[in-house]
Amino acid sequence: MTQAGSRSVGDRIVHKTFAPIMRHTLALYCGASGDHNPIHVDLDFAKKAGFPDVFSHGMLVMAYLGQALTDAVAPKNVRAFSTRFAAITQLGARLTCEGHVTELLDHNGEPCMKITLAAKDETGEAKLLGEAIVAR
């Protein structure tokens, strides 16, 4: 087995669940993030754009995924972090963020691990799929 300290390929090292995303959550994130796109907080705007309701900022879900990540590894060791927004995250979603070590690698000459990340809602639907490169 490939090992790095106590981290091995296949280990689930990131795991965190979050409270349901409420309208209030989106209002606070709108103000705090600088992303004032009304589609996330203004029902009239969202409906006019063809959506049944407001929905989460993708970057709020990425912030949760980042939080789950840096609960598990030291923030200063994170070299890269990326995600694909696979599906819209609806109001009320209860997210679980998980990450598994999928590779031990050298990144710019530094021993690192690749952590494959996912944020899923309570039905198991993947909302964000991503990865992080973390020094080990």
Binding site: A32, A80, F85
Partner: protein, 153 residues
């Protein structure tokens, strides 16, 4: 509709300050409780000169301090209501901490059509520089534009 002629377009650089109050508000909004992001002493113990920012906060800083946070959409004549975020990436060279002044320079690196023109994907790269000239980070994002249905389809 945006086409490949937009590749290479750059936008007004944004200078943003990492302010403790705004960072605290962001941590509250996302439920971030880790002491390293909230307490200067805890941050120093971890080796930071001041409180560092959470992994996605650079994206927010650029929008917060932009004169027009949706400049690249208005410049490219894209309706905000038709935009979704497709992908987002960060490469970190040096941690950003409270007290930093950062300059963000964004440019379009790719434009591709998908699903027979139903969607346009726009890739934007943003270089983040610190006040002392240190190249702090890079961001990449893909914006998905849902195009109006063509009359012929």
């Amino acid at each position: 509709m945006v086409d490949r002629s937009a590749i290479g377009r750059s936008f007004t650089p944004v200078t943003a300050h990492v302010e403790p109050g705004r960072l605290r508000y962001f941590c509250e909004a996302i439920g971030e409780r880790s002491p390293v992001y909230r307490d200067a002493q805890a941050a120093r113990v971890e080796g930071y000169p001041a409180i560092p920012v959470p992994p996605t906060y650079l994206f927010c800083l650029e929008m917060m301090d932009a004169e027009n946070p949706f400049e690249f959409l208005t410049e490219l004549d894209i309706d905000l209501a038709r935009v979704l975020h497709g992908e987002q990436g960060f490469t970190y060279h040096v941690p950003a901490v409270v007290g930093d002044t950062l300059t963000f320079r964004s440019r379009v690196t790719d434009v591709t059509e998908k699903k027979g023109g139903a969607m346009t994907l726009i890739a934007v790269v943003t270089e983040v520089m610190r006040q002392d000239g240190v190249h702090l980070a890079d961001m990449t994002r893909t914006i998905v534009v849902r195009n109006p249905k063509a009359a012929s389809t």
